[in-house]
């Protein structure tokens, strides 16, 4: 669904992200892990065509066979950010917002109502939330609403940038549960960008580790966490604080 080949993003002559090879297949959950300055968010923005003008991009990014996937933003490709409340129009009820977004895609009346109901059920939200304004919902609800919006618009890939790092751990667990459900039951593909190795290990099938703009390791999640090859991956795993075993 998304194929990246020889992607290189530069600002001036500094390479801020170089990804030789990255595929997100149908129903796959791929995670890019790294610390600040690793280039993980840059890669995500490159896919969406949302990079700063100062950045030059070489290599190819294809999504659904399209060469410039930014045109698919808001339909087949959806973006979920760290704090979605900022992206929701503050003066509009969530129901109105969703209805307008659907109307923009030519979905109206019964069909729109059906899709809305289904999408809300998929993210475990009550219909009642449609009557609320963005400031009246909590962080976790806003994040799940963003997912519902993506689903209703027919997204097949969700690009999520630190979607839970602003949330309390119990709320994070709920959003992760919803993401896992969409991924496992609805076959939704997810490209997750996160600094949290433990979070990534609980959801991703495939992991790409980045550091200073370069990919240091890439492979199936289970294998990588069991036998990390790169020194940096081992360092990340060791640095992740652990709970005592029960």
């Amino acid at each position: 669904m998304i194929e990246i080949r020889d992607l290189e993003v530069r600002i001036g002559d500094r390479v801020i992200a170089a990804v030789p090879h990255l595929d997100v297949g149908p129903g796959q959950c791929v995670a890019i892990v790294g610390e600040s300055g690793s280039g993980k968010t840059t890669t995500l923005l490159a896919i969406l065509g949302l990079l700063d003008e100062a950045a030059t991009v070489t290599g190819s990014i294809e999504a659904f066979g399209v060469r410039s996937p930014s045109t698919l933003r808001g339909s087949k490709i959806a973006l979920v950010m760290q704090s979605p409340q900022g992206a929701l129009t503050p003066t509009m009820r969530l129901g109105t917002l969703l209805r307008r977004a659907l109307a923009l895609h030519g979905v109206r009346g019964r069909a729109a109502a059906d899709r809305t109901r289904q999408a809300l059920r998929d993210v475990l939200l009550e219909d009642e939330i449609l009557r609320r304004y963005p400031h009246q919902v909590s962080g976790g609800q806003a994040q799940r609403f963003a997912l519902a919006l993506a689903l209703a618009l027919g997204a097949e890939v969700i690009l999520a940038d630190e979607p839970t790092s602003a949330l309390d751990v119990t709320v994070q667990a709920e959003v992760v549960a919803v993401l896992r459900r969409l991924h496992e039951e609805r076959g939704l593909a997810v490209l997750l960008v996160s600094h949290d190795l433990a979070l990534v290990s609980s959801i991703a099938d495939h992991v790409v580790v980045m550091k200073d703009g370069q990919v240091v390791e890439s492979g199936p999640a289970a294998e990588m966490f069991a036998h990390p090859a790169a020194g940096y991956t081992r360092e990340l795993i060791a640095a992740t604080p652990e709970l005592p075993d029960a």
């Binding site: 909590s138 119990t170 600094h195 609980s202 604080p241 709970l243 029960a246």
Partner: protein, 308 residues
């Protein structure tokens, strides 16, 4: 030692901390809770930055509110905060050295004192001339610690000291804190939502929900065999490398109900009629204090099934 005795704190008419009793201990104390639980408000009271409506903050068995100038100064020198880097803990217009100098008591050789403090937190003394925005997040956090150390305190109140940092940087700050605790005999009150940090730095923990302590006791007991369903929910929600997926209750954002019964009732999978009628008091069950009517059952179950 620093302690809170039956402290209630309110903003206007809304109480945010209810009747909390907490005692600092040499092995470190963790204060765990989600945002809005009142843990940061309690910390501000322990620092003397705000005054409780009722109850008292005491240091060396003297009530903070009744202290004279000299006692107050002694308290200041003994208890210092370490705020998180994200909270503008360093004045953006001041050089690092100037910020640290605010805490120096002896006026002799301030330059050398500042250099020593920076060295003790693993920073190059040359950074004294820089401003906060010229430092990395980890360096700023170390500078914040250095400033707190300037008055040679015995207790540091750490408010989410690593939550704004990358994991590898966080690991090094934790090492530094452990090292300082050994070397200088510091004890920490660590305020965090991250249970793994508490496990590392604190022998004792308090879990706070909706302004009340719902469970307290040895950190290891709380994390491995939680008695309160909220403590269990916090632990089970933490993702772990190679572990089971984080467990969600699906009700994490239900508003706590304060009026009657247990504040946790709306989120609790174990709530029964009694929980809705009567607020549970803290009592001792299986080696810790817990405020839950069903604590006997939860401690029983968790001995058979670790993941309850």
């Amino acid at each position: 030692m620093l302690e809170a005795r039956g402290v209630t704190i309110a903003y206007g008419k809304t109480p945010v901390v209810h009747d909390v009793t907490l005692t600092m201990e040499p092995g470190g104390v963790g204060l765990i809770g989600e945002s809005g639980s009142g843990k940061t408000t309690l910390a501000r009271a322990l620092l003397g930055l705000l005054t409780p409506v009722s109850g008292a903050i005491a240091y060396g068995s003297r009530d903070l509110a009744a202290m004279d100038r000299a006692e107050r100064a002694r308290f200041r020198d003994a208890v210092q905060p370490v705020f998180q880097d994200g909270s503008e803990a360093l004045d953006p217009r001041m050089r690092i050295g100037q910020s640290i100098a605010e805490g120096l008591r002896a006026r002799t050789e301030p330059g050398k004192q500042i250099a020593d403090l920076l060295t003790s937190v693993g920073l190059d003394p040359a950074l004294a001339d820089r401003r906060p925005h010229q430092l990395s997040g980890g360096q700023r956090q170390r500078a914040i610690i250095a400033r707190a150390l300037a008055v040679r305190p015995g207790t540091l109140i750490l408010d989410e000291p690593t939550s704004a940092l990358d994991v590898t940087v966080q690991a090094r700050i934790l090492e530094l804190l452990e090292h300082l605790a050994d070397e200088r005999g510091l004890s920490y009150l660590l305020i965090t939502h991250n249970l793994a940090l508490v496990h590392r730095l604190c022998r004792t923990s308090y879990v706070m929900f909706a302004g009340r302590i719902v469970e307290s006791g040895p950190s290891r007991t709380l994390l491995t065999r939680p008695a309160h369903p909220y403590t269990a929910a916090l632990r089970d929600a933490v993702p772990r490398i190679g572990g089971p997926p984080p467990r969600a209750t699906g009700r994490a954002e239900a508003a706590p109900r304060i009026s009657t019964g247990c504040p946790y009732q709306r989120r609790c999978p174990l709530a029964v009629d009694r929980c809705r009628a009567e607020r549970p008091e803290l009592r001792e069950v299986a080696g810790r204090m817990v405020a839950c009517h069903r604590a006997e059952e939860t401690t029983q179950v968790s001995e058979d099934q670790p993941s309850a």
